[in-house]
């Protein structure tokens, strides 16, 4: 009777087996990589906003402190998204005709809020508190990056739990003097870790890693 299989079939057969095994392993690997790259964490994605608000201009050119708009960042859990009212403090005087600000003025007169798009999102079961970080010497730039260089705000930190833990386990390299807390450009003289140690003592920095610190 004729041969069932051609001589090449052995090779093909081995190849198939190899592909199946490699595929299985590869998928798992790919997933784990994906969870760590920007595509998975949502970093490096410029997010469009209803109003073309440019942090570069407000921070660099106008030298406005973060806390002028994000008023509760050192008092409350939420940093505070400025109410339309606050925009108009200036923009009732300057650029008060600019079409870029139509929406802002519309919001004020129609009493309808501007719906900004959230960039930094932690899950609902994560209770992040701005006040405690800002008051213990963790600067805005540590998590939010060089906002002063961003035309549109993007997420620079992975915001994964592991990333949080890295700092909660060893905060010293991320600490800065309170007076520099909102500075985008501050650089420590000398060894930052050493400085961090002093500051940690000075501000009584005791980061916690037990689950209820963030999950409730």
């Amino acid at each position: 009777m004729s041969a069932l299989f051609s001589p090449r079939s052995n090779g093909i057969f081995r190849l198939v087996i190899a592909i199946v095994l490699a595929g299985a392993a590869g998928t798992v690997g790919a997933l784990m990589v994906f969870a760590r790259i920007p595509a998975g964490t949502g970093q490096q994605q410029q997010v469009g906003q209803p109003v073309q608000f440019d942090h570069r201009h407000h921070v660099q050119d106008d030298l406005i402190d973060c806390r002028y708009c994000h008023t509760t960042v050192d008092k409350a859990a939420s940093a505070g998204i400025p109410p339309t009212e606050l925009c108009l403090n200036c923009h009732s005087q300057v650029w008060n005709k600019s079409p870029l600000l139509d929406l802002v003025r519309a919001s004020w007169f129609s009493n309808r809020p501007i719906e900004w798009v959230r960039v930094h999102r932690v899950p609902d079961f994560v209770y992040f508190n701005h006040a405690i970080h800002v008051n213990k010497g963790v600067g805005c730039v540590e998590c939010h990056g060089r906002v002063d260089l961003m035309p549109a705000i993007e997420q620079v930190a992975p915001l994964t739990m592991g990333w949080c833990l890295d700092c909660h386990r060893d905060p010293n390299p991320r600490l800065r003097p309170l007076e520099e807390i909102t500075s985008m450009t501050w650089e420590p003289e000398g060894d930052r870790v050493a400085l961090g140690k002093e500051l940690a003592k000075k501000y009584d920095v005791k980061p916690r890693t037990s689950c209820y610190t963030c999950h409730r």
């Binding site: 969870a35 509760t72 109410p83 719906e115 609902d124 079961f125 405690i132 999950h215 409730r216």
Partner: protein, 1007 residues
């Protein structure tokens, strides 16, 4: 991908709830149709619900394409004009008050971003002292109830408020012609001075109109009793803390009657230490107060009078000769008891207290008043004051008169603000029929009920948390009722409505109340408004631009404190007319034979007004642990005699009226008596209350409002399943809820030592002594009255879902803290111990080492932490928990919560998804908030600073919480107490919650 398995699959999340900022959006949301409620209650295992589908769909999608597991980017919605008072993510508390039978109960309400979320008692208020109860806790749920009545209609025509005002004005002109002869108001008892003014002004305009006051559960009997004894109606307030010996004549003064929150606190303060008080209770049904009794005498309701007279007779023998004529010696065993009680009372003159229950006839109240006076208690433990209620004679009589007029067609317009009169009115008054004869029946109500259904004008009432108003407590203290939120739906308060009848409906309750008190407080009149530019300069949030007004400050202080300083009235001097009391006693009917039918306000839904409140429906009854319905309570012996078992459906009949009711056998109930809780079985009810329980009012007649002889129980042969959360009331001889007699305590030390201290172990226990904080709790069984306030408070604080009757029957209730009740001794006449039990936060927690994914772990401060987002739901932890205090989300209970109910969620607590385990966290959100606030301020958390919801609510201060590493903290002292023991100590779990043995103080002569 940690974000897999978040509750994102087609589910609403706590964050959405948090995100509500502007009123516009709120309206937009509330416009959406209400979701089903209670969540998941209707969920059958068979049903593949929409949310279930979405969840699995979401799961598969998430597993398939990874991008899909990312929710769409959220919106951040800031204010347009930021209100001064609100900082997002920082809750604010406001003082206000709610009415209980017309009297004020002071509250402090916490609001998140303008949403009232949690209610506590106001410690400055005499009727609360900081404590609260389940009903008060659940008021906030009533506010967000999607089934609330909305807007105003007349004969089905929807009316705007302004339009309604015009129609009322027209109506008023009609009645002006005859001075209101054909105009009547049926109102609930209230102490509101503003309402008092308005009623006066209404009567000035319509001299021949009348206000009739009706409450099915009012305490008119006491005032009537005072009228007999002292010649004028008076209100008694009691100083329970001063009483060494207390005799309760069927008075549930710890949980229901009078200022029960204060009573409970004062009573509990005398249940530990050497100056323990002694409580005698004579009552038909097993009540919360009865559970605390050192000697509980079960007798039928109509026999209480005779027993009271027996005590009076013995008192006369014990040197209070004055009481002689009132006394009448009993016979049998009771004599001995009465003598012992009398001796005890007489031995504590000026330090004793006799209370008569609201269900007892006026004569018994008069006798109690006389006994208190004879015992010299007036001025020490009892204070008599002129009633603060606008109409002291609330009761069936005024209602009977009204019913007569209605039936005779003498009335054109009837304005009803009393709750659901058609349901609660005595059956013999036939109010239902008479009501139909009125041309204009105008009903103001919070939700649709039978009366609203029958009315031609249906007006939505504002919730107390949406209303301006004022109330007084029994001692006269005034509280301003202030709103925490603008009304969710178009609605009006009783003040607005009455004002409409005097042409001031457009003034608004705020001005009426505020200006009324300006006048009463003698403050100067408000300065005239500014005009033009100066007005614009004024802040936006005040209601109108004004010149600085000195009254503002006073007003704000009142609002901040929740009480008007120095507003309490002076006690009156009284002298009892013993003759009159004797006559009244003589006229008392002789207890009839046969089975006595007794009625009682429900511990949860009161007179029925809270029927729609799912929290209260699911809250186990303090005594019977029954949820989601009422039942006919019988004693074991009577049930045996009638051949009935719990769950049997019987036809309960009296005087030609009958209802079908399930039987529930309650240990310690009086024989030949049946007790029925009122308020259930309403003909018109929303999604929660539909078909819940049976209507006790159907059997209730005006001649016998509380107790009636000659009841019959006929078997129907049918049975029903009663959703009782505790099936087993015996401790099986195990040491679980320990109780001792006062003098036994000394001898019991060795025995107690077996239940505390170091347990032998091969594992080196972790040493927490060097930590800044070591959180711990102590529960004092001697103080706990078992009312269930803690359970309700926990439910409100921690976003705990309601699961519904079917799930309770499957024993899947979700309460994090439950109150177990154990009966000791003979089933006929047992003693009882109540034991609140939540996660005890074992230092050696059995749940922790069995969790495969580290979802429940130990914190450095010794908390047993349950991490919902890590939980995969093996339920192994619950299997290994010896206390069985863990709760599992068998369904997606929060899947589609009505928009308004999302506003109720506490944003500080994660809303749990389907398939995760949950349990008591010691209110960790409060600990974390306190920690962050303290650390931002560079301070340390105070020893007693953190208070969990259960401890805060407890009226008896039975629960204490704090830092065990701080010797100054109350909880450390409790942990060191001689009565301290650990539950299931032999397992070596090292629980952080310690229990304190319940003490009893029996009379040696009755031992």
């Amino acid at each position: 991908m940690p974000s897999l398995g978040l509750p994102i699959y087609g589910q609403k999340t706590a964050l959405e709830t948090r995100r509500w900022k502007s009123l516009d959006e709120l309206e937009a949301r509330t416009a959406a149709e209400p979701g089903e409620f209670p969540e998941g209650a209707a969920e059958t295992p068979e049903g593949l619900s929409r949310r279930g589908f979405l969840q699995v769909l979401g799961a598969s999608v998430a597993l398939a394409g990874l991008q899909a597991c990312k929710p769409p980017r959220e919106k951040l919605v800031p204010y347009v004009r930021a209100p001064a008072a609100v900082t997002p993510s920082v809750p604010v508390a406001y003082a206000t008050a709610a009415s209980e039978e017309g009297y004020a109960v002071g509250l402090v309400v916490q609001a998140h971003e303008g949403r009232p979320v949690k209610i506590e008692g106001n410690r400055l208020h005499p009727a609360s002292l900081g404590g609260s109860d389940a009903i008060r806790q659940a008021l906030v749920l009533e506010l967000y109830d999607p089934a609330r009545l909305r807007g105003f209609t007349r004969e089905g025509r929807a009316l705007a408020w302004s339009a309604l005002l015009q129609e009322i004005a027209a109506l008023g002109r009609e009645h002006d012609k005859d001075g209101g002869t054909r105009l009547r108001f049926l109102v609930a008892p209230t102490s509101s001075p503003t309402l008092g003014d308005l009623r006066r002004r209404v009567l000035e305009r319509f001299p021949r109109a009348r206000f009739d006051t009706w409450s099915a559960t009012g305490e008119g009997a006491q005032r009537a009793g005072a009228a007999i004894a002292f010649g004028r109606p008076l209100d008694a307030t009691y100083d329970v803390a001063k009483a060494d010996v207390i005799l309760s004549l069927d008075s549930d003064f710890l949980a229901v009657e009078g200022e029960h929150l204060r009573h409970a606190r004062e009573f509990a303060s005398r249940r530990e230490g050497d100056r323990m008080n002694r409580l005698y209770v004579a009552e038909p049904r097993f009540s919360v107060t009865g559970g605390m009794a050192d000697h509980r005498l079960r007798m039928r309701g109509l026999e209480v009078a005779a027993f009271a007279r027996a005590v009076a007779a013995e008192l006369a023998g014990a040197g209070l000769a004055g009481l002689g004529p009132l006394g009448a010696h009993g016979e049998g065993e009771r004599v001995k008891v009465a003598r012992a009680i009398a001796k005890d009372l007489a031995g504590a003159r000026g330090r004793s207290l006799v209370l008569a229950g609201a269900r007892q006839p006026p004569a018994v109240h008069a006798l109690a008043a006389a006994m208190n006076e004879a015992l010299g208690n007036v001025g020490t433990t009892v204070h008599w004051r002129a009633p603060v209620l606008l109409d002291p004679r609330a009761g069936a009589d005024s209602l009977r008169e009204l019913a007569g007029e209605l039936a005779a067609g003498k009335i054109d317009t009837l304005v009803v603000t009393a709750w659901n009169a058609l349901h609660t009115a005595p059956a013999d008054l036939e109010l239902r029929k008479a009501f139909g004869k009125v041309k204009n029946s105008m009903v103001l109500a919070l939700r649709e009920d039978e009366t609203v259904r029958a009315a031609s004008w249906r007006l939505a009432a504002s919730h107390p948390l949406e209303s301006w108003g004022d109330l007084r407590s029994r001692d006269g203290t005034v509280s301003i009722v202030q709103p925490l939120i603008t009304p969710l739906y178009e609605s009006a308060t009783e003040i607005d409505l009455l004002a409409a009848f005097v042409g001031e409906g457009d003034r608004g309750a705020w001005r009426l109340v505020r200006e009324g008190w300006r006048a009463r407080s003698g403050a100067p009149p408000a300065p005239l408004p500014l005009a033009g530019a100066a007005a614009a300069a004024n802040p936006v949030d005040t209601n109108r631009p004004r010149r600085p007004d000195p009254y503002d400050r006073t007003w704000d202080e009142w609002l901040a404190a929740g009480v008007l300083t120095e507003s309490a009235g002076k006690p009156e001097q009284v002298a009892a007319d013993l003759g009159a009391v004797g006559d009244a006693l003589g006229k008392l009917p002789v207890p009839a034979g046969g089975i006595e039918l007794g009625f009682a306000p429900d511990y949860k839904i009161w007179d029925g007004r809270l029927l729609e409140n799912a929290w209260l429906q699911e809250l186990p009854d303090p005594v019977t642990k029954l949820t989601w319905e009422n039942a006919a309570h019988l004693s074991p012996a009577t049930a045996k005699r009638l051949g009935l078992a719990s769950g049997d459906l019987v036809e309960l009949a009296r005087g030609g009226r009958a209802v079908v009711a399930p039987v529930l056998i309650v240990p310690g109930h009086a024989d030949d008596a049946v007790t029925v809780a009122l308020g259930y079985g309403q003909q018109v009810a929303g999604p929660v209350g539909k078909g819940v329980g049976f209507d006790g009012y159907a059997l209730r007649t005006s001649d016998a409002p509380w107790f009636a002889g000659g009841a019959e129980l006929r078997k129907t042969g049918k049975r029903t399943d009663l959703a009782v959360t505790q099936g087993h009331f015996s401790m099986e001889g195990r040491a679980i809820a320990l109780a001792l007699d006062h003098e036994e305590l000394g001898r019991a030390k060795a025995e107690l030592d077996e239940h505390r201290g170091e347990a032998p172990t091969i594992l080196e226990p972790v040493d927490y002594s060097d930590r800044t904080y070591k959180w711990g709790m102590a529960i004092d069984l001697s103080r706990c009255i078992g009312c269930g306030a803690c359970t309700a408070a926990c439910q409100a604080e921690n976003n705990i879902p309601v699961v519904g009757k079917e799930q309770v029957l499957r024993s899947r209730e979700m309460h994090w803290i439950r109150v177990d009740r154990y009966f000791e001794g003979p089933a006929e006449d047992p003693k009882s111990v109540t034991q609140p039990l939540a996660c005890v936060h074992c230092e050696m927690a059995p749940c922790e080492y069995v969790c495969p994914v580290n979802a429940t772990v130990h914190s450095d401060e010794g908390l047993n932490e349950m991490v919902y987002n890590r939980c995969v739901g093996t339920r192994y932890c619950s299997n290994n928990c010896p206390y069985k205090v863990r709760r599992f989300n068998f369904f997606d209970y929060h899947g589609d919560v009505a928009p308004t109910l999302q506003m109720l969620m506490n944003p500080d607590v994660t809303v749990r998804a389907r398939g995760v385990m949950e349990k008591c966290t010691y209110c960790t959100q409060r600990i974390q908030r306190a920690r962050i606030d303290a650390r931002v301020g560079g301070k340390k958390i105070g020893p007693d600073e953190v208070v969990p919801a259960c401890a805060q609510a407890c009226p008896a201060e039975a629960i204490t919480f704090g830092n065990l590493n701080d010797p100054r903290s109350r909880v450390s002292r409790k942990h060191g107490d001689a009565r301290r023991y650990d539950l299931l100590h032999e397992l070596g779990t090292r629980p952080r919650t310690a229990y304190l043995v319940k003490l009893r103080n029996p009379n040696p002569e009755l031992a």
